[in-house]
């Protein structure tokens, strides 16, 4: 598929041509990649069928399939928009000097398309082993982004991230071997027909899920995330926090809803939900206690990832086709997309603030609202979505999770959603109150930031807000290629 080939080719070309061409290639790739993602989305939407592509015309079980259903199309479009925003934002920070080759920009502009290609490969992969390779590509492209500035602590953070990620992927691979040994195929569709309850399926799926959780930084595997995401440069943090952690989450969704279609595991889903709930509470409380802005945002990512996993206990029910399961499912996916936009905007805003005042200690931000009004506005808009206030994508997502929880009588998840929203309000307000306070002596801005750069986080945050206008019901697009969940719920 073109969606994978284009970015990978661009990454290789950047490496081969080197230095000054890398930025141009990456920027030229963006409109093309966005167009491909939109075209795939439009095709899936128009035909209401899963788009399939068999490599070399060899159909599974002999060949390898790529499949784009509604979910992958939505994720691909979100990723494309976000990558374009990040690329535009990074232009001034990683602009390539005219005279000599610089290492950091070259690495950044080579890895940006690499991350993009790996993400698309994860979103359309139809074969568990191919997904493993895509996941590893993503890790290898993401880890160096953490240590772009080459300081000792970011390298230590990158190393720790890599070790967690490697543990995660090797567990995933172990699970994949067991599935192959048990059922003789790794193709998702064939596997979902052949799989049946038993020790092999249980062991394999537990191993794969545990591995993916380590990569998605779900509590208690979140230890690597804050230093890695807070230490990276702003555009890289936006990419890592917005998109890269969503890929393993996407695979857990694939595994639990596409492979395990006929094996609902409500008890295991409750465990996933409990880990998510713990992540929400711990992440939010730790975020409240941070003194530095970027660490606060990174801990808030830990909390928001927790929300994603609340969809499992709500959407998986022994009685197949619980009418509310679908609402929770849509809510979880919407949370993934709107958090991607909101978090990217907030990391960019934090980067601009750090650039303007020379530090990111929250206590020293007084009067910032006057110096950088647009940036603070972007931060606030992103925060709106994290808190789940209307109108924002975060509100719709959390409202869907809430209604599903209440309607299914699993009220304890509703309590967690509400408490998490309050805590998120707390840490966003902590920053805003400081920034909008009238300081007796306003911070002297070290550098002026052009309006154009400030506009990009605002635009991304607005995307997160606009997602708040999608109708409050199971989305038809996400439904394509998904016969197992009953249509119903909020109407």
């Amino acid at each position: 598929m073109l969606a994978i080939v284009l970015p990978v080719a661009a990454a290789l070309l950047s490496l081969a041509l080197g230095g000054r061409h890398a930025e141009r290639i990456a920027l030229g790739l963006m409109p093309a990649g966005l167009a491909v993602a939109l075209a795939i989305g439009a095709t899936v939407w128009r035909t209401h069928h899963v788009l399939q592509y068999f490599v070399g015309d060899w159909a599974p079980p002999l060949g390898v399939a790529f499949r784009a259903d509604g979910l992958s199309a939505a994720m691909m479009i979100a990723a494309a928009v976000l990558v374009c925003g990040i690329g535009l934002f990074a232009r001034s920070q990683f602009s390539t000097p005219r005279s000599a080759e610089a290492r950091t920009p070259l690495v950044f502009w080579t890895l940006l398309p690499a991350v993009w290609g790996a993400l698309n490969a994860v979103f359309v992969g139809g074969d568990l082993f191919n997904l493993y390779v895509a996941l590893e590509l993503l890790t290898f492209a993401a880890v160096p982004l953490v240590s772009l500035d080459g300081r000792a602590e970011t390298i230590a953070a990158a190393l720790r991230y890599l070790l967690f990620a490697l543990l995660g992927s090797i567990l995933y691979l172990l699970g994949a071997v067991l599935l192959y040994g048990g059922y003789g195929t790794l193709d998702i569709v064939l596997l979902s027909d052949r799989i049946h309850a038993g020790p092999v399926a249980a062991a394999a799926v537990s191993l794969m899920t545990a591995g993916l959780l380590a990569k998605a930084a779900l509590f208690p595997f979140h230890l690597w995330l804050p230093p890695a995401h807070a230490g990276a440069p702003a555009p890289a943090s936006a990419l890592l926090s917005g998109l890269v952690v969503k890929a393993p989450f996407f695979l857990v969704v694939r595994l639990w809803f596409d492979v395990m279609t006929r094996l609902p595991e409500p008890a295991a889903a409750q465990v996933l939900g409990a880990l998510g709930a713990a992540a929400i509470i711990f992440g939010s409380v730790l975020a409240l206690r941070q003194a530095r802005l970027k660490l606060l945002i990174a801990y808030s990512t830990v909390a928001q990832i927790g929300y994603l996993f609340l969809m499992f206990p709500l959407a998986i029910n022994p009685a197949t086709g619980h009418p509310w399961g679908n609402t929770a499912w849509t809510g979880g996916v919407l949370q993934a997309i709107s958090h991607a936009f909101a978090k990217a905007a907030m990391f960019m805003a934090a980067g601009l603030i750090a650039e303007a005042v020379g530090h990111d200690r929250i206590a020293g931000l007084s009067g910032l609202g006057r110096a950088l009004p647009i940036t603070v506005f972007a931060f606030a808009l992103g925060g709106l979505s994290l808190m789940g206030l209307p109108p924002s994508g975060g509100f719709v997502a959390k409202a869907m999770l809430l209604t599903a929880a209440v309607a299914e009588g699993q009220w304890w998840w509703a309590v967690v959603v509400l408490v998490g929203g309050l805590l998120a309000g707390g840490y966003v307000f902590l920053v805003l109150a400081r920034a909008l306070a009238d300081a007796s002596e306003p911070v002297p801005p070290l550098a002026t930031i052009s309006t154009g750069r400030q506009a990009i986080p605002v635009a991304l945050a607005l995307c997160a807000v606009l997602l708040g206008f999608v109708p409050l019901r199971p989305s038809e697009l996400l439904q394509i290629g998904r016969p197992d969940l009953a249509i119903g719920g909020l109407r």
Binding site: P144, G150, A156, Y180, G181
Partner: protein, 102 residues
């Protein structure tokens, strides 16, 4: 006990040892080696699976072998990346142990 079972048990032992090392050891180099141990176990398991597939009557199931080759390349790249990061870290700080992780 067939050969495939022996290999499967060996793989389980290797994975267990590696997992223990990865979690318990605090030295990054040992962690990287432990990861390779798990990798060895998983690849051995691939071999056992290929052999078991062969019990159906074929000479051997070729798919796991193809997968193992890909897996080896990926694991090798992962080790190289981790070693590069570790070397750079040692070059900057002069010590291999990362402070606060366990």
């Amino acid at each position: 006990m067939s050969a495939a079972t022996v290999y499967g048990c060996g793989a389980a032992v290797l994975v267990g040892l590696g997992l223990f090392g990865l979690i318990v050891d605090s030295q990054p180099l040992r962690k990287i080696l432990a990861f390779n141990l798990i990798g060895g176990g998983v690849f051995l398991l691939f071999g056992a699976v290929a052999r078991r597939g062969a019990a159906v009557g074929f000479g051997g199931d070729p798919v796991p072998q193809a997968l193992v080759i890909t897996g080896l390349v990926v694991a090798f790249a992962a080790t190289a990346l981790a070693m590069a990061l570790l070397l750079r870290l040692v070059g900057i700080t002069g010590q291999a142990g990362s402070r606060s992780d366990g």
